[in-house]
Structure formats: structure tokens, C-alpha cells
């Protein structure tokens, strides 16, 4: 166990990264393309194969109905709470969804739950790490927004399991960032982490104390980030296009998917440019030869996004209040997340906390680096992490529904985790054997205004007169911020059986099935890829043979040899049209073998031609039946 590699993973809304601790410093593991960031995008390619990351990005524009991005927004969410998202994001839900079911998203003709789509991204990161280490990687620390609720955390853990990863810990993103930040500073004081990413916003206030990173308060919004800025700019562009060009793209959002995807790409580029330039140009080709062109100044941009970035102020003030800290007591402010590159955001943070924020760490990578530090700590630590310990908090209060639909809070927000609370229950009716408990998360007074977490059904209460059984229920929030519940009937001392119905999540059984399916699919995908690769190789050889037949060497073969080659050629053509990889492979090998003599003769001809001083036709040489395969062989797990 001690030798197992544990990687750190930042599973982001827009980009994801995998990292590990190399000696004393955390480093990001690049993908095969040499890039650190893996876009959190999954798509089906022309061959109906799942592609992930940079390879999937082009499909966002070419075939948007076969690609998905920003899936993190849907993690742990139900049908009724994604209606707003659906207006802004081109998510295509499966048609047969009903209330209370885990969402399923269409990609081409397949459907996936959000944890399965996240698992595709995680599997890509796992592959990148395995390629890097040359060894299997099965253990990971995954980061989540600090303000993620129980269901969103559970969904992330499920995604890890579906991807074949043992998720040792979920770490809050701002806290992870503080670990990376504090690694070489090792000083005491109060720090604020302001994390505005692609889809989520977190604010955390920490006390650093001789290597202990103690979160004192956290707050945020799990649906606020760069995506919202993009959507606003897209909405403005669509209005412009309707007003100026009389083209209503919004009415048929689905059919205009491709155009909207191009507009999205353009506004993202403009947004990024405006962080370093005073103006940016939008230039998008529209249907019917029309064009959308517009110049945006930084001033206009800042005015437009003001309402969005202002939404971060409330959570910041609440966190300060909860921490009992005044802005002047803060020693450092750390910026995390790509959206903190926007100068206006930096000014807002500076005004809020009266301090120039730190920008020396790459805001895209700092969370992943911190995850690697935490992975190192969980793996037993090294000299540099030996004294480091993270004490995190639960972002939301945990409550239970009591008479009158009121929430009785039993663990308050910002409690250090692990945290627990014990409640006692009894029966209302003689002989009652079941007790139902509704667990909620949130700050509101009424149960219906809080987030329903799960309904627990305590079973097997010994039949006794009403009020006599005494059942002790222990609610425990673990270090991942995930609730565990256990119950005991105190008179009999019997552990009570609990039937859990998560309000927004997959059951264990569903996760197991998805894990198995993902293996099946991986197998299927692997097989299909082999077939495709075999066909390509067959084509190369058949083309070379066709060329060889025109060479004078073909005539030098015996009639039997020629007959044999042509029989095997037909066999390969036939195998190529089937989808049995082994048959294709065998036919290729057989034809290779049979054309050995032809290749030799061709070589001789070429050499003697060269000796005669004639120019050598190198195509004869290089594309002979024995020429090397034109493409490097694809590698598989």
C-alpha cells in the first residue's frame, strides 16, 4: 500500500489536471499532447468513439450535439433545479427522465449521467498519469468546490469510482490552493482564498498555525463563474444579431447549435483578450453569408460583467462575519481560478479586503498542485509535508425535519470536520417498527427551503408501546464533507437497519453497474479501435501491392506465386470489410509473408536501376509491401 502512487486531481468545470509530488514540489502531469490542462469536454468522434480533452474540443463546434462541456454544473443536481442551466447551456437531457431520477445527458445516440461523463474526464487523467509513470494508478485525491453540498460531493466520489479510482479524499479547492501556497511560505497568519473558476465560486478564510491549515469559514456559490460571463456575452450577441441582422438564433437554439458554439468560442477569446488589451473584436460567420462583427472595449466589458462579479461580494462578507475577522486582520489574499485574471475582479478583491492579492501562482494550476500535496500527506507524508495538516469545515448546516416542516439544525455550517451530532428518536404509535428521518442541508428555517439530502428509514424497531423505544441516531460528517448515519436502539442495543434514499444521487448498486459497464465499454471501445487501426494498415498494404503489380518485378514471380498473392489479397479485402480484428491481422500477416519475394525483387530492380545511373523511384522503395507502417501504433492501457 505504501508504494502505491496517489495522484491529485483538479476536476474543473472548464479544465482538469492531474498532479503528483515530485520530491519536495508538486508538479502537474502533462498529457500526451504535452499540455497540462485537459479540457473537461467529452465527445463522440466520427467513428462513434468517445474522445476527451483537447481532442474533443473541435467537436464542440463541428458537432455540438455530440459533445458535452461544463458537466460539473449538473453534478448532484435534480431535474427541477437545472431548468435555468438548460436555458443557457446546450445540454440535451434524455427524453424519458422523470422527477427524482439522476439526470442523463445525450451525447449522439448514447446517454450518460453527469458522474459518468466526469468519469470519462477522470479516466483520461488516469491514463495520462499511467503513461507518465508507466504503472497503474488507482488512488487519487480529487478536489471539489468548498461550497459543494453532500449530493455534489457524493456524485464526484461516484465519478471517481466509475473511472476505476479509489478516491482517498475529497479536498475543497480553496483549501487545496492554500496548501500549495503555504508549502514554501510556512508562516502563521490569516489568509483569504478567493476562487472564481469556470463554473463555481468559493471564498475561504484560513488560519495558518505552524503547518496546521485551519479553515475558519467558507462560503460561495456553486453556480457562478466564467461560464456566466460567457453566457451573458452570448446573450448580448444573440440580441445584437436579431436586432441588426434580423436573425433570431435563439428561437431555434438547437438547430443553431453550431453558430452559437462559434459565437461562444469568439466571446471566450474576446474575454481572455480583454484581460490584457483595451479592446477586442468579435467576428463570427453566420448562415446565409452574413457576419457578426463587433468591437468591445474593456470599459464596456467591465460594465457588462459588474452584476455577475458583484455576486461574489455577499458570500465574502458572510464568510468574514462567520469567521469573526475584519478585513484589516487579514494577512494575505490568494487568487485562484481562471476568472481571477480579469483585472476588474482583482480590483474588486482588493477593495473588499483592502489588500493587493497574490498573483504569483498560476491560478489554473494551484488547486491541482495542492491536491498533490494532500495526496502526499495521505500517503504518509515526506519531510516537507510532515508538519502539515488540513482542518476543513462543512460549508452548509445539516438539519433534520421536525414537526411543522421546520428544520432543526444539528451541525452548524463552518463546523470543523469530522463533526457529529446525536439525536434520540422514539415511536408515536404502539408497535411502530419504522421511523422516517428526513435530512436536509442549508441555512433556511423551513425544510422545504433547504436542500433535501436523503430520507432515512430506520427499520426493525422492536415493537413496544409508543414512546418506549429509544433510538439513538448518529449523524457524522466525515473529512470529505459527506454524511454517514448510524442508528442503535438503546434498550436492545441493536444496530438499527437504515434504508437510505438519496434525494439526488446514484445508489451504490447503480455506481457498481456503471463501473462494470465502463469496463465493457472500454473493452468495446478498445476492440473497435483495433478494427479501425487494422483496416488502415490493410489499406496501406493493398495500395502498395497495387503499385507493386505495375512493377516489372511482378512479372518475374512464378504464376503460382502470383496466384497465391492474389488469393491472399482477396482474403484481406474480405477480412477488412468484417469487424473481426484477429481475422484482419492474420490476413495482413499472410499477405506480408507471401509478398516477401516480390519485395526483394523490387529492391533488386531499384538497386540495379540506381547503379545504371538512373534516378531511383523512391516511391517503389518506400511504399513496397514491406514499408513501415505510416502511422505509429496507437497505445492502449
Amino acid at each position: 500500500m505504501a508504494t502505491d502512487i496517489i495522484v491529485g486531481i483538479d476536476l474543473g468545470t472548464t479544465n482538469s489536471l492531474v498532479s503528483y509530488m515530485q520530491g519536495d514540489s508538486p508538479v502537474v502531469i502533462p498529457g500526451e499532447d504535452g499540455l497540462n490542462l485537459v479540457p473537461s469536454v467529452a465527445a463522440l468522434d466520427e467513428n462513434n468513439q468517445i474522445v476527451v480533452g483537447n481532442a474533443a474540443r473541435k467537436y464542440l463546434i463541428e458537432t455540438p450535439e455530440r459533445a458535452v462541456y461544463s458537466i460539473k454544473r449538473l453534478m448532484g443536481r435534480g431535474l427541477e433545479d437545472v431548468q435555468d442551466e438548460l436555458k443557457l447551456f446546450p445540454f440535451q437531457l434524455a427524453e424519458d427522465l422523470h422527477d427524482g431520477e439522476v439526470l442523463r445527458i445525450k451525447i449522439g445516440d448514447r446517454t450518460y449521467t453527469p458522474p459518468e461523463i466526469s468519469a470519462l474526464v477522470l479516466r483520461q487523467l488516469k491514463r495520462n498519469a499511467e503513461r507518465f509513470f508507466g504503472a497503474p494508478v488507482t488512488h487519487a485525491v480529487i478536489t471539489v468546490p468548498a461550497y459543494f453540498n453532500d449530493a455534489q460531493r457524493q456524485a464526484t466520489k461516484d465519478a471517481g469510482r466509475i473511472a476505476g479510482l479509489n478516491v482517498l479524499r475529497l479536498v475543497n479547492e480553496p483549501t487545496a490552493a492554500s496548501l500549495a501556497y503555504g508549502l514554501d511560505k510556512k508562516k502563521n497568519g490569516t489568509i483569504v482564498v478567493y476562487d472564481l473558476g469556470g463554473g463555481t465560486f468559493d471564498i475561504s478564510i484560513l488560519k495558518l498555525h505552524d503547518g496546521i491549515f485551519e479553515v475558519v469559514a467558507t462560503n460561495g456559490d456553486t453556480h457562478l463563474g466564467g461560464d456566466d460571463i460567457d453566457n451573458l456575452l452570448i446573450a448580448i450577441a444573440l440580441d445584437d444579431i436579431r436586432g441588426d441582422l434580423g436573425l433570431d438564433l435563439r428561437r431555434d437554439f438547437r438547430r443553431s447549435g453550431e453558430v452559437v458554439a462559434r459565437i461562444r468560442q469568439a466571446v471566450i477569446e474576446a474575454k481572455i483578450a480583454l484581460s490584457s488589451q483595451p479592446t477586442a473584436k468579435l467576428d463570427v460567420d453566420l448562415p446565409d453569408g452574413k457576419k457578426y462583427q463587433r468591437e468591445i472595449t474593456r470599459e464596456m466589458f467591465e460594465q457588462m460583467i459588474q452584476p455577475i462579479i458583484d455576486r461574489t461580494v455577499g458570500p465574502c462578507k458572510q464568510a468574514l462575519k462567520d469567521a469573526g475577522v475584519k478585513p484589516e486582520q487579514i494577512d494575505e489574499v490568494v487568487l485562484v481560478g481562471g476568472s481571477t485574471r480579469i483585472p476588474k475582479v482583482r480590483r474588486l478583491v482588493q477593495d473588499l479586503f483592502g489588500r493587493v492579492p497574490h498573483t504569483d501562482l498560476n491560478p489554473d494550476e494551484v488547486v491541482a498542485l495542492g491536491a498533490a500535496v494532500q495526496a502526499n500527506i495521505l500517503g504518509g507524508g515526506s519531510e516537507i509535508t510532515q508538519d502539515m495538516l488540513l482542518l476543513d469545515v462543512t460549508p452548509l448546516s445539516l438539519g433534520i425535519e421536525v414537526a411543522g416542516g421546520v428544520t432543526d439544525k444539528i451541525i452548524l455550517r463552518n463546523s470543523t470536520v469530522p463533526a457529529s451530532a446525536t439525536q434520540h428518536y422514539t415511536t408515536q404509535v404502539d408497535g411502530q417498527t419504522n421511523i422516517a428521518i428526513h435530512v436536509l442541508q442549508g441555512e433556511r428555517e423551513l425544510a422545504r427551503d433547504c436542500r433535501s439530502l436523503a430520507r432515512f428509514d430506520l427499520k426493525g424497531v422492536p415493537p413496544m408501546p409508543a414512546g418506549l423505544p429509544r433510538i439513538e441516531v448518529k449523524f457524522l460528517i466525515d473529512a470529505n464533507g459527506i454524511l454517514r448515519v448510524s442508528a442503535r436502539e438503546q434498550r436492545s442495543g441493536k444496530e438499527a437497519e437504515i434504508d437510505v434514499q438519496p434525494s439526488y444521487g446514484l445508489t451504490d448498486e447503480q455506481v457498481e453497474n456503471m463501473l462494470l459497464e465502463s469496463f465493457d465499454f472500454a473493452e468495446e471501445d478498445f476492440r473497435q479501435r483495433q478494427v479501425i487501426e487494422g483496416r488502415r494498415e490493410a489499406d496501406t498494404i493493398l495500395m502498395a501491392l497495387a503499385k507493386g503489380k505495375k512493377n516489372q518485378a511482378w512479372q518475374e514471380l512464378t504464376p503460382e506465386e502470383r496466384g497465391n498473392v492474389e488469393t491472399l489479397e482477396r482474403a484481406l479485402v474480405a477480412a477488412k470489410h468484417g469487424d473481426d480484428y484477429h481475422a484482419i491481422r492474420e490476413a495482413i500477416d499472410a499477405l506480408n509473408e507471401a509478398t516477401m519475394h516480390l519485395a526483394e525483387l523490387m529492391m533488386d530492380t531499384a538497386v540495379s536501376t540506381a547503379l545504371k545511373g538512373k534516378a531511383m523511384d523512391d516511391s517503389d522503395l518506400e511504399e513496397g509491401p514491406h514499408a513501415g507502417h505510416p502511422m505509429a501504433k496507437a497505445e492502449f492501457e
Binding site: 500500500m1 505504501a2 482517498l168 479524499r169 498555525h209 505552524d210 496546521i212 494532500q374 500527506i377 495521505l378 500517503g379 504518509g380 495538516l389 488540513l390 482542518l391 411543522g404 463546523s415 470543523t416 470536520v417 469530522p418 463533526a419 457529529s420 451530532a421 457524522l476 460528517i477 466525515d478 473529512a479
Partner: protein, 220 residues
């Protein structure tokens, strides 16, 4: 004596024993508590009990660490705050604070009346006036009007309430001193008297705190 968290021979984490929070830290059941010492102990025990330290341990040790560290956190949370500490001690001594409030709520619900808050007599007039002002402020807010004189009145009342709050905390601390003196030697009657007094102070303080919350909400 601190509760036993580790094996005396090998230093490994042990399953938690059901002890009260004072014993968990090895403190006497006294209310005057050195919070700096408490924090030091909390950090020291966190370093040994937190689940992160048991990343490579077997399942049983991991389960014990989870229970131990949740108890550590629960205990620290209850003891570091003076009010929570007092409430926790009262519960330990058999005073059912929640029961009292729950019963009052249920009774109010059953009779269909509003839950009665007993106004401390010395505040009667002040509270009456403040509630009038707050009502006025809410009406003005709805109409979009602004009355600096009214805001000043409420501001003054708020200041006075905050002073009362501080006085009550001092009153509570005086009871702490009494409790700490008799905790080991006093008669049951003496102990009961101090406990009852603390309940009384906490109730009054609760009332003030609710008022302050109303004021803050109205002024926001």
C-alpha cells in the same frame, strides 16, 4: 485526567470512550477555562487523531480515528465558546435546556398562541419603545422613505442592548466563579442554586440576542 486516546504501549489510536468533553481534554468540569491552552491541546490532538494521519492505516484504526477526531472537534467547538460551554455544562448537570424550549414551543403551538417570551422587567419600557420604532422603520422602508432621527433612536437602543449583553456576560462569569469554587465541595443545594441562576442569565441573554437580531435585520 485526560481520557485515553492512545495505547500506552504502542501509541496507537484507541476506540473512543464515552466521556464528557471536559474529560476528553483532561480538564476539570470548571467554566473558567484557559482557551489558549484549549487551542494548544486541540492542535496537538488533531495532529495525532485526524483521519489524514491514518491514510495508510488499517480499516479499524481509520474508523477509530474518524470517531475520535469527530469527538475532538465536537468537544473543541462546545468548549471554546463561553455560552456554548455554559450550555454544555448545564446539560451535563441534567438541565434540559432544549427540552424547556421545546416544551414551550409545543405548548404555544397546541394553544395556538405565540410563544411567550418573558420580557425582563427592567427592559419592559425600552423593548416596547424599540418594537414601535422597528415597526415604523419597516413601514418607512416599504414606502422608500428615510428618517435619520428614527435611525438614530434605534441606533441608541441598539447600543444600550449591546451594553446589556456585555453586562449579562459579566453576570454569567460571576456565576462561573461560584460554580468553579463549589464544583468539588459544595452541597447539592448550592450547586442547584448556581445552575438555576445560570439558566436565568442565559434566558435573559437569549432574549437580548433575539432583539439585537431583529434590529440588525430591520436596519440592513
Amino acid at each position: 485526567m485526560r481520557a485515553v486516546h492512545f495505547c500506552s504501549a504502542c501509541g496507537k489510536v484507541q476506540p473512543p470512550v464515552p466521556v464528557d468533553y471536559f474529560t476528553f481534554f483532561g480538564f476539570a468540569r470548571k467554566l473558567n477555562l484557559d482557551t489558549a491552552e484549549l487551542e494548544k491541546e486541540f492542535y496537538a490532538l488533531s495532529r495525532r487523531l485526524h483521519p489524514d494521519v491514518f491514510g495508510q492505516a488499517d480499516e479499524r484504526e481509520r474508523a477509530w480515528s474518524l470517531e475520535q477526531s469527530s469527538m475532538l472537534n465536537d468537544a473543541y467547538r462546545a468548549l471554546k465558546d463561553p455560552i456554548k460551554r455554559t450550555e454544555y455544562l448545564l446539560r451535563l448537570e441534567g438541565v434540559e435546556l432544549e427540552e424547556q424550549s421545546k416544551q414551550a414551543t409545543e405548548k404555544a403551538r397546541a394553544t395556538g398562541e405565540l410563544k411567550k417570551q418573558v420580557v425582563p422587567p427592567d427592559l419592559l419600557e425600552e423593548v416596547f419603545e424599540l418594537n414601535m420604532h422597528l415597526e415604523e422603520l419597516r413601514v418607512q422602508k416599504k414606502l422608500g422613505e428615510d428618517d435619520p432621527a428614527l435611525l438614530e433612536e434605534i441606533g441608541k437602543a441598539k447600543l444600550s442592548l449591546e451594553e446589556k449583553n456585555d453586562e449579562l456576560l459579566n453576570e454569567l462569569k460571576a456565576e462561573w466563579d461560584k460554580w468553579d469554587k463549589i464544583v468539588d465541595s459544595g452541597s447539592e443545594g448550592d450547586r442547584r442554586k448556581v445552575l438555576d441562576k445560570m439558566v436565568d442569565v442565559l434566558n435573559r441573554r437569549n432574549y437580548i440576542r433575539n432583539l439585537l437580531r431583529d434590529v440588525n435585520e430591520a436596519m440592513e
